[in-house]
């Protein structure tokens, strides 16, 4: 599961910090308890010394028992009794009718040849109250610390990661096909981010170079291919003019000619694609889509003997600021597709309304994934007559002018919709 770094960090802190604090508190409590016991023992011993001194100086003429303070008994202790070690005990208070916890310490002392057992008492209640109070204060402070750590961490993370987020935003909007260079700040105040920015800047420079090389390669390759294609074409023309041409040879030449023409056409289209990518169509003008569309439709009706039934609703409201050649290529490619990939006695619907051109045609479903349809050399059918570049060209032109194009197939109808963006150009 992926979360934001900040969330993950907070989660770690919230899981581990309380645990650490809990262990610390336990340790603190144990130590506090140990020190308290030690102090009680000292106090009991001190009391014993004081009482014994008073007992000797007054030759035994003091009270032999003060409840809750001390008692002195003549005699020796039983061998099982623990001497000189604090022990828990309780004393019953008649006024409050309650048992109160006490610590007692018994010492074995001698005076004038007689043995005495001196036991001193000290109340445990105060100590346990003190322990609780100290412990509660400590817990409160630790909780405060926990909150402070989490809050400071969140605040500082937001601040520290800002250069990173800025970089991410720029990298995300970077589009290699638009041939842009990316400038990231070299100084962010954090060495790691400086290095990251430096690395990304260098990487993008390399990507741009590679992309440029690739584009130039396609363009150069297409240009270089023109000459051999021209040679083949000229030889074929000479060949069909040879005397004594047989029908069989003519059929062979016909096939070569068709293949060579397809190659030429493909090459020309690749070149056109490369040129669009290289931004070699900078001239733009305001173009009325309706006018172009009508002209193209008229042309197609002239060119084809049999054409599917075309019904067109054209509103004269859409103008775009584009290159006329490219918009012509865009629309004629779409209409050509609607004609070529139609079925016998099929239909075509064309609707141009405010900034949207919808072209629908009847036809069998595609054998290719619709998402790949706009990629180069992806054909929806295995027609050998087509180059598989028409829709790639459409996509490229739409990208150039930020038009949106999408395709869907429903109930035997192919639908291509182009949304012209008014703001474009």
């Amino acid at each position: 599961m992926n979360r934001r770094l900040l969330q993950r960090n907070t989660r770690f802190l919230l899981i581990w910090l309380p645990l650490v604090l809990l262990i610390c508190s336990t340790a603190f409590y144990t130590m506090l308890l140990k020190h308290t016991h030690h102090m009680q023992e000292k106090q009991l011993l001190l009391k014993q010394t004081n009482i014994w001194n008073a007992f000797i100086s007054r030759s035994g003429h003091i009270d032999w028992q003060v409840p809750g303070e001390y008692d002195i008994i003549e005699g020796t202790a039983s061998p099982q009794a623990k001497l000189n070690a604090p022990l828990d005990t309780v004393i019953y208070y008649t006024d409050s009718k309650q048992l109160h916890p006490f610590k007692k310490l018994t010492g074995h002392l001698s005076w004038n040849g007689k043995s005495y057992l001196v036991t001193t008492y000290i109340s445990s209640t105060e100590f346990s109250h003190l322990i609780i109070k100290v412990f509660v204060s400590e817990a409160f402070i630790l909780a405060l610390l926990l909150i402070a750590i989490v809050v400071i961490n969140r605040k500082s993370s937001g601040l520290l990661w800002k250069p990173f987020l800025n970089t991410m935003e720029k990298v995300n909007t970077f589009e290699v096909t638009r041939n842009e260079s990316l400038t990231l700040p070299a100084e962010t105040g954090t060495t790691e981010f400086n290095e990251l920015n430096k690395a990304i800047t260098a990487l993008i420079a390399r990507i741009n170079t590679a992309y440029l090389n690739q584009k130039q390669f396609v363009e150069n390759a297409s240009h270089e291919m023109q000459t051999p294609l021209a040679i083949i074409r000229s030889k074929l023309e000479l060949l069909i003019n040879q005397p004594g041409l047989t029908e069989k040879n003519a059929a062979l030449i016909g096939d070569i000619t068709t293949a060579n023409d397809r190659l030429s056409q493909m090459n020309r289209t690749l070149l056109l694609l490369a040129k669009i990518e290289n931004n070699q169509f900078p001239e733009t003008e305001t173009v009325e889509i309706a006018q172009i569309l009508k002209k193209i439709l008229a042309d197609f009706k002239n060119h084809y003997e049999e054409i599917p039934l075309i019904s067109a609703t054209i509103e004269n409201t859409t103008t775009v600021h584009v290159n006329r050649v490219l918009i012509d290529v865009l629309i004629s490619n779409l209409i050509k597709n609607a004609i070529e990939h139609n079925q016998p006695k099929g239909n075509i619907n064309i609707a141009l309304s405010k900034n949207t051109l919808l072209i629908e045609n009847t036809g069998p479903a595609l054998s290719v994934n619709p998402h790949e349809l706009f990629e180069r050399f992806k054909k929806g059918s295995h027609q050998t007559k087509t180059t598989g570049l028409g829709l790639a060209l459409v996509k490229q032109i739409c990208n150039l002018y930020q038009f949106k194009v999408n395709y869907n197939y429903n109930d035997g109808w192919h639908r291509v919709m182009v949304k012209f963006d008014e703001a474009a150009g």
Binding site: Q226, T227, A230, I232, E237, L238, I240, L245, Y304, E305
Partner: protein
């Protein structure tokens, strides 16, 4: 008619020379910038077919040289670079026409003939074959002295065939001649068949039948 072909690809050069020799041109072919300059300085040509990418210099430089020296030989550029800017650059430097590779020889032939007619007003403005006459200025066609009414496309088609008479002209060449770059968008040659069918019918009505022959589905040939 004297023709100089400047093209460094020997195969293509040979093709062009062969085609134009059959058209009764006096043809010379060279493959380098230096030899082309030599030829231009020594002789006058009616038309020069010029490739731009030469091993030892640019065809455009040759064109500049030609125009700076006040030689007004007709120039048709043939180039692998066919973009609008390339065309404009070529034409601005004084070329008379610009043809992008790969081209059809029949198209080059038609362009060269049109150029020569424009430039020198030679052979007047009449194209003839048998009893078929075509007046380029008036844009009229007569067959056995009877006017034949043709559409623009049919007229263009007939001019093209007359420029390439006695030769097989491929249907692809016809498609590209009539529709230019638009031909790319026409994967079928239906329209060539239908235009040709109409043209044949109209000529037959006026008694010029059998002039256009179909050659095994490859193309058409206009001959007696």
């Amino acid at each position: 008619m004297k023709l100089l072909v400047v093209e460094d690809e020997t195969s293509l050069l040979q093709s062009i020379l062969e085609y134009f020799t059959q058209e009764d041109f006096l043809c010379e072919g060279v493959g380098t910038f230096a030899t082309a300059i030599e030829k231009i300085e020594t002789f006058n040509y009616d038309c020069i077919i010029l490739d731009i990418n030469l091993p030892d210099g640019s065809g455009l430089k040759l064109l500049q040289y030609l125009r700076q020296n006040k030689k007004d030989d007709g120039v048709v550029i043939i180039s692998a670079r066919g973009s609008l800017e390339d065309r404009i650059t070529g034409l601005n430097l004084g070329a008379d026409d610009y043809l992008a590779k790969p081209f059809h020889l029949s198209e080059l032939n038609a362009r060269v003939k049109a150029l020569i007619r424009r430039k020198y007003a030679q052979g007047a403005s009449m194209l003839e074959l048998g009893n078929l006459q075509l007046d380029l200025l008036a844009r009229t066609v007569t067959c056995n002295k009877q006017p034949v009414v043709l559409t623009k496309n049919e007229y263009d088609l007939l001019v093209y065939l007359l420029n390439n008479k006695n030769r097989v002209v491929s249907k692809q060449a016809i498609a590209e001649h009539i529709y230019g770059d638009q031909a790319d968008n026409m994967p079928s040659f239906d329209f060539v068949y239908s235009q040709m069918k109409n043209l044949k019918r109209k000529l037959k009505e006026k008694g010029c039948d059998e002039l256009i022959q179909t050659v095994y589905g490859l193309g058409y040939k206009l001959s007696l």
